[in-house]
């Protein structure tokens, strides 16, 4: 099986795979996530929305919205 981009959404307890290379903003659109509501990280790096993610890489999408 070909390697894909692994996208983890820990707060939603969800994970998906998308084919790369792909920009962060496009990955978010595919995942149905508003870009102003999350930060996207890769290890200790914070990624901008135009950052290109390659196949085989893993990114985390962390919601920044707090309620209450």
């Amino acid at each position: 099986m070909l390697p894909m981009i692994r996208v983890r959404l820990p707060q939603k307890k969800k994970e998906l795979e998308v084919p790369g290379p792909r920009r962060v903003m496009d990955i978010l659109a595919q995942a149905g996530v508003r870009p102003t509501t999350v930060i996207v990280t890769q290890g200790k790096k914070l990624l901008t929305k135009d950052h290109r993610v390659e196949d085989g890489e893993t990114i985390d999408v962390i919601s920044v919205v707090s309620g209450g």
Binding site: V64, S66, G67
Partner: protein, 327 residues
């Protein structure tokens, strides 16, 4: 994308609302300047203040504590254990770990020991969890600050929180709430300590980015009690608008704070000189100057303060229907 400030390093944070993108070092500078400007604009803090920072374990409050310490303010953290199974333990752990790494020991209030853990208090009083939580937190923020001789209470409310609250208040024409919504709520001169929101100029995305880049380990899970919070609906609407028209949220809230806005009272006259008492029109919580609660002595706008009334209702229900022991 290169950093728009230093033009050398790779950008880590892009901020369409500011037409900017920053590398970590330049972003720290940008963020701290935003907070400084927020403090300066309404004179929220002075160098001589003793600041009680209310920390929940989430990104905003821990970032606030971090920034204020970095700016040289004298601070202590206050953590309120809400008694929410699992979530409270994990939040507390984050707060204690953050504080320990900086040689601090936060003040901890345990609501179970105080007789009002949020889930039980909400059931007992038949009031939504978030309302009970607000009442209890406000009470302890003030009580701990008064007892500990703090001059000011600081909370981590950010631009998104305030813009969402503003939208809710406008949609329902809560004129009394509108008139009191401000990053600066003065002390009352009757035991009510000044409250400030130094992060009112920065967005949730900015505090989260700052926390992540600074290596602050905050709790990312949402409070399970806030799943149906109406503020989340307002935030969702505002984020949709923000994506189409970056910067709108800032214009919306900052325009509201404009001195010429007839929907609110003018806080630009604040802060008062030390020792000067508040006038009725500056009263942050309700009508007139508070008096002492007949039960606990805390500032109140009725004979008995809202916290004592809540506690009594919970106690009455407990006597009528003892909670079954877990397991």
């Amino acid at each position: 994308m290169k950093c728009k400030r230093c033009r050398r390093a790779e950008a880590a944070v892009d901020l369409p609302s500011h037409h900017a993108a920053f590398c970590p070092d330049c972003f720290f500078l940008f963020f701290q300047r935003q907070v400084k400007e927020g403090i300066r604009k309404f004179r929220l803090l002075s160098p001589s203040d003793r600041v009680l920072v209310c920390v929940s374990g989430g990104k905003d409050s821990l970032v606030l504590w971090d920034v204020l310490m970095e700016m040289g303010y004298e601070t202590e953290g206050l953590y309120i254990d809400l008694g929410i199974e699992g979530y409270s333990e994990r939040s507390k752990e984050k707060v204690l770990a953050y504080a320990a790494a900086r040689g601090k020991t936060p003040i901890v209030v345990d609501l179970a020991k105080e007789g009002v853990p949020i889930p039980e208090a909400s059931r007992g009083a038949r009031i939504p969890e978030c309302s009970v939580c607000g009442t209890v937190k406000r009470y302890f923020f003030n009580r701990v600050a008064s007892e500990g001789k703090f001059t000011v209470v600081a909370t981590g409310h950010n631009l998104d929180d305030e813009a969402a609250r503003l939208l809710g208040n406008l949609l329902h024409w809560h004129r009394d709430h509108l008139s009191r919504q401000h990053p600066y709520l003065p002390d009352s001169g009757a035991g009510l300590v000044r409250k400030v929101k130094p992060l009112w100029r920065v967005s949730e995305l900015e505090t989260a980015s700052y926390g992540f880049l600074k290596g602050i380990d905050y709790v990312t899970e949402e409070c399970p009690m806030s799943e149906d919070a109406t503020s989340l609906v307002y935030k969702e609407v505002l984020s949709l608008i923000e994506e189409q028209m970056p910067g709108t949220r800032t214009v919306f809230y900052q325009g509201f704070l404009d001195p010429g806005n007839p929907f609110r009272r003018a806080p630009e006259t604040r802060p008062r000189a030390s020792g000067e008492s508040a006038t009725d029109t500056e009263d942050p919580e309700g009508a007139g100057t508070p008096r002492a609660c007949a039960s606990c002595g805390a500032p109140a706008w009725a004979d008995i303060c809202s916290f004592c009334r809540l506690k009594e209702r919970v106690q009455r229900r407990r006597e009528r229907r003892p909670e079954r022991a877990p397991g």
